[in-house]
């Protein structure tokens, strides 16, 4: 049909599309193995994930099981984590608590980052008044310290895990929206977006089908980092009595309950604190490794 043009002897065929994705996964895995920090982070998160799923099954006691004869005991063979003033095994309580804490953190992170993605993408795509309005609202929300804003919301609607997740989500939304908007602004200027506009594609199609797939990597990094903050915020709220209510095995609440006995029974505070910090450190280490990976990709060195 276009004989005079000639078909150039093109480069050797690259691997197929699926193969390319697999290769990407392989490289990511190799980098994970190559970075001890990422390995430690992933390991910590896997342990916590295991606790969240199997914790209640593996725990020696129910979180609310009283042992009146063994109150405030040091860790022993029967009570590996020691006992509190009611004789409840602290290790069992920490194991039971993993599920609710991590579930809460996951839900609020997904909610917050999800809202942030929508706000950031919509603002960056439509620009002008919409962008201006959304971003000023985000600024107003961000002007309040995170914990204070969450407390404000929870004291008005009442303490309840669902409200805690909503509250943390609202606190995270403006921060994620900022990050996503930055990425989306450069994407929205790309020519393939202009091409889509010129084809007459709907705005939502462009945002979610053309722009979003190109922003996944930084959004995943944002998720892991926000996840760490969500654990901190959720347990802080629990500590302040705004989250789960006794006798729930909430890590933050457990530290609060351990306060009066800090001198006699420090293990009561140490165990849940260790659980909190190890999960936060795990998420942060993994997040850092992922963002390094992303920076490498931007320099075109891998993938």
């Amino acid at each position: 049909m276009f004989a005079p043009l000639g078909v150039p002897a093109e480069l050797a065929p690259g691997p197929g599309a699926r193969a390319a994705i697999w290769r990407g996964a392989e490289v990511a895995w190799a980098l994970l193995l190559g970075s001890p920090a990422a390995m430690v982070g992933a390991l910590l998160l896997v342990i916590h994930l295991g606790l969240a799923v199997f914790g209640p099954a593996l725990a020696p006691y129910h979180f609310a099981q009283f042992n009146i004869l063994h109150t405030l005991e040091t860790p022993s063979r029967d009570f590996l984590g020691g006992t509190d003033q009611f004789g409840r095994d602290q290790l069992s309580r920490v194991m039971w608590g993993a599920r609710s804490t991590l579930l809460l953190a996951t839900a609020s992170t997904l909610l917050g980052v999800g809202l942030g993605v929508v706000v950031g993408m919509v603002g960056a795509f439509y620009r002008g008044f919409v962008d201006e309005l959304l971003m000023r609202i985000m600024d107003a929300l961000m002007a309040l310290p995170a914990l204070l804003l969450a407390m404000l919301l929870l004291t008005t609607v009442g303490a309840n895990p669902v409200y805690v997740a909503l509250g943390i989500g609202v606190v995270f939304m403006p921060r994620s929206a900022r990050v996503v908007r930055g990425i989306a602004l450069s994407l929205a200027a790309a020519e393939f977006i202009d091409a889509a506009r010129a084809r007459g594609e709907r705005g939502l199609y462009i945002i979610f089908a053309e722009m979003l797939p190109n922003a996944w990597a930084p959004i995943i990094v944002e998720l892991t980092i926000r996840f760490a903050y969500a654990i901190l915020l959720a347990t802080s709220l629990g500590f302040l009595g705004l989250g789960a209510q006794p006798p729930a095995p909430d890590w933050g609440l457990m530290i609060n309950e351990a306060l009066p006995f800090l001198a006699q029974a420090p293990w009561l505070a140490i165990l849940p604190a260790a659980a909190i910090s190890s999960s936060v450190v795990g998420a942060n280490l993994l997040g850092d490794a992922l963002s390094d990976l992303l920076a490498l990709r931007r320099r075109g060195e891998t993938l």
Partner: protein, 689 residues
């Protein structure tokens, strides 16, 4: 100081080989390059991307990264730089060896004024006192022809134009009177009028200094304008080398001939719309060299070329080529371009223009957000009352430099931008401004091809998804037929169906541009807006893309609104041309009328600025003086008057000249009467300012 050619060479490179160690095996970037550069001479190193020319530049500066394995010799005044410890090299860098890079924004420090940066270099390298260094800095700024050096010295890099930034970089390179100056594509990315003045500067420098200049570029016209000697690189080797005049007049390597032939010419009308393109692609740089590297793409290749690596043949005194059959190489211009395929059916001869742009205005505010809403930001008049029309099956080119508003027009036509005022009509009927409000049929008829092959396709979508999306959107295929339809489209742009499942990153720039063209042609459009479709491509790839556009037009009777800054490409492809300056039309008409005198003074400057292989019809050199135009502060009267070499007088500052059209459709907006312009431009070509 006078030129002192001859004498001991500043630079002698012998059998330089550079191999990069990568995860995918060794990449041989440079495969045995030898060069000699005497003092006071300019050696042009020309090649396409991937030819290894920039690697040679870095090797000459001994500035390659540690992943690179370098063998051979790079002798700078007899001293071998390869394997020298960095401590000793640092003594040479910036002092005896200096380099200017393509992008001045990344070489200048954004937080220091340009004057302070240069003073620092002088204090550091030459041990001068601050006052003395300042004086020398001003002297250097004057030497690179920066207007008002004392004023410029106080500015930060972002406050300078691209051309001024590049002058500062050159001044910095010259600071310590280097013996060797390496210029790596110093004018790529600059407007032609700015480029012309930088080239003038380099030309005057070599007259004044005894430095040897290694000038690296992809632009053959620049080499012809500037260099004494040229080395043509192909796939990490020098294909041909010799005096510029001799090599361009009678090249002895088939690659040089092909490269010269595939360039669209600015100095003569095209014989045909097709260019003799170089088929095929560069060889894999990972492969061992055991044959002529150009053989797979060479029309003259024999059995011997495919089995044996050719040595260096002396074809004339001082000229050589890496070709067994150099005596059989035909002179340039003898390869016949393929003929266009016969059009399918007849073009409609409707008198109604397909596309009309009537008094288009696009103004926007320079700042965004609240500042703009409060009305505080300055208004930029990107496009000011531009009217043009495109008839079926023709190519209308819109030419201008950056800031001329040419891309804004394209974006308004496609609906990506909304005009401030004016109308866009298709078939005589006004069309809604927003693409979403346009009827589906209209969107189908109007398509776009962009400049940047890296961003024109969504990196997360396969080629199949990219090409099939418009088909699906306009309801032309269903799920079952879309694959075969997409394969047919790829075939039409010369790509095999196996590309369907690849991602854009797995394709070369030229291939991506072909996919973009396939996507635009998917729905058999009537008009395709081409926004600089070839300006990011190598010349040989550009030729294939231009050929593709011409063939598709011949077959489909498609009209093109072709946006470009490249006058050679425009002369090659366009039926009619519109020349824009600061958002206003200064000249318009049939291509051959626009390229022949009389010209609007701005067109004249543009034509004279293009570095060409031969003397253009514009004799002499007319350069654009004055500051770069700022669309936020439009001059009164004729927008071109502050820089016009043929300014008449106060009338130019007061009144906007009307666009006067001849009966042959050639229009010029100038206060100088047409007959006077013709007389001035054919008789006394160089106005002395």
């Amino acid at each position: 100081m006078t030129r002192a050619p001859g004498g001991e060479p500043v630079l002698a490179v012998r059998d330089l080989r550079v191999t990069y160690r990568t995860g995918a095996g060794p990449v041989r970037a440079v495969k045995g390059v030898s060069l000699v550069l005497p003092p006071g001479r300019v050696l042009g190193l020309v090649g396409e991307s991937g030819s290894g020319k920039s690697t040679v530049a870095l090797a000459v500066m001994a500035a390659l990264e540690s992943e690179a394995e370098v063998t051979g010799e790079v002798r700078f005044r007899g001293e071998n730089l390869i394997g020298k410890p960095e401590r000793e090299l640092r003594r040479l860098w910036g002092r005896r060896l200096a380099m200017v890079f393509q992008d001045p924004t990344s070489t200048l420090n954004p937080v220091l004024t340009v004057g302070d940066q240069l003073v620092e270099v002088l204090v550091e390298h030459e041990g001068r006192g601050p006052a003395e260094a300042r004086a020398r800095m001003l002297e250097l700024f004057a030497a690179v022809q920066l207007p008002n050096p004392a004023e410029i010295a106080r500015r930060y890099p972002h406050q300078l134009s691209g051309g001024q930034q590049q002058r500062v970089s050159i001044a910095t390179a010259l600071a310590c009177k280097p013996a060797l100056l390496v210029l790596d594509e110093p004018t790529t990315g600059l407007d032609v009028t700015t480029e012309a003045r930088i080239l003038d500067l380099v030309d005057s420098l070599r007259q004044r200094t005894a430095a040897g200049i290694l000038y690296i570029t992809h632009n053959l016209g620049v080499i012809a304008r500037l260099a004494d000697e040229v080395a043509v690189m192909y796939a990490g080797e020098i294909a041909e080398q010799g005096p510029v005049g001799a090599v361009f007049a009678r090249p002895r390597h088939p690659y040089t001939v092909a490269l010269l032939d595939c360039l669209p010419r600015i100095d003569r009308p095209p014989a045909t719309r097709l260019l003799p393109a170089i088929e095929g692609t560069l060889p894999d740089p990972r492969a061992e060299v055991c044959a002529c590297q150009f053989a797979p793409r060479c029309a003259l290749a024999q059995e011997r070329c495919r089995g044996e690596h050719p040595g260096w043949f002396e074809t004339a005194p001082g000229q050589g080529a890496r070709c067994f059959y150099w005596e059989r190489v035909p002179p340039p211009g003898t390869v016949r371009a393929p003929a266009l395929a016969k059009p399918r059916g007849r073009a409609s001869t409707r008198p109604v223009p397909l596309l009309e742009v009537v008094d288009l205005v696009h103004h926007y505010r320079q700042a965004g957000g609240l500042t703009a809403m409060l009305g505080r930001a300055p208004i930029v008049r990107a496009v000011d009352r531009v009217s043009l029309g495109v008839v079926p099956a023709e190519t209308l080119a819109v030419v201008g430099e950056s800031g001329s508003g040419k891309t804004t027009i394209a974006r308004c036509v496609t609906g990506v931008l909304q005009p401030t005022a004016g109308e866009i009509k298709v078939d005589g009927r006004p069309v809604p401004r927003r693409p979403a409000a346009r009827p589906r049929k209209l969107r189908r008829r109007l398509q776009i091809v962009f400049q940047n092959p890296d961003l024109t396709l969504n990196p997360r979508r396969t080629i199949l998804e990219a090409v099939a999306r418009p088909l699906r959107l306009f309801g032309l295929v269903d799920r079952r037929t879309r694959r075969s339809a997409a394969a047919r489209l790829l075939e039409a742009v010369g790509l095999e169906p196996r590309y369907l499942d690849l991602f854009p990153a797995q394709l070369s720039g030229g291939q991506r541009q072909r996919v973009a063209i396939a996507r635009a042609f998917a729905c058999r459009p009537d008009l395709v807006v081409c926004d600089e479709p070839t300006s990011a491509l190598d010349v040989s790839v550009q030729a294939t893309v231009l050929n593709l556009l011409a063939s598709l037009q011949a077959r489909e009777h498609t009209s093109y609104l072709f946006i470009s800054h490249d006058l050679s490409v425009v002369r090659h492809i366009a039926n009619r041309v519109v020349v824009l300056y600061l958002g206003r039309i200064c000249e318009a008409g049939p291509t051959e009328e626009v390229f022949a005198p009389p010209w609007h003074p701005y067109t004249e400057v543009l034509l004279s600025a293009v570095p060409s292989l031969s003397a253009t019809s514009v004799t002499g050199t007319i350069r654009l003086e004055g500051p770069a135009p700022n669309p936020a502060v439009l001059p009164s009267g004729c927008p071109f008057h502050p820089r016009c070499p043929r300014k008449l007088g106060p009338i130019c500052e007061r009144e906007m000249p009307p666009l006067v059209t001849t009966d042959r459709g050639h229009a010029i907006a100038c206060h100088i009467p047409r007959a006077d312009l013709l007389r001035l431009q054919t008789a006394a070509p160089v106005p002395v300012s």
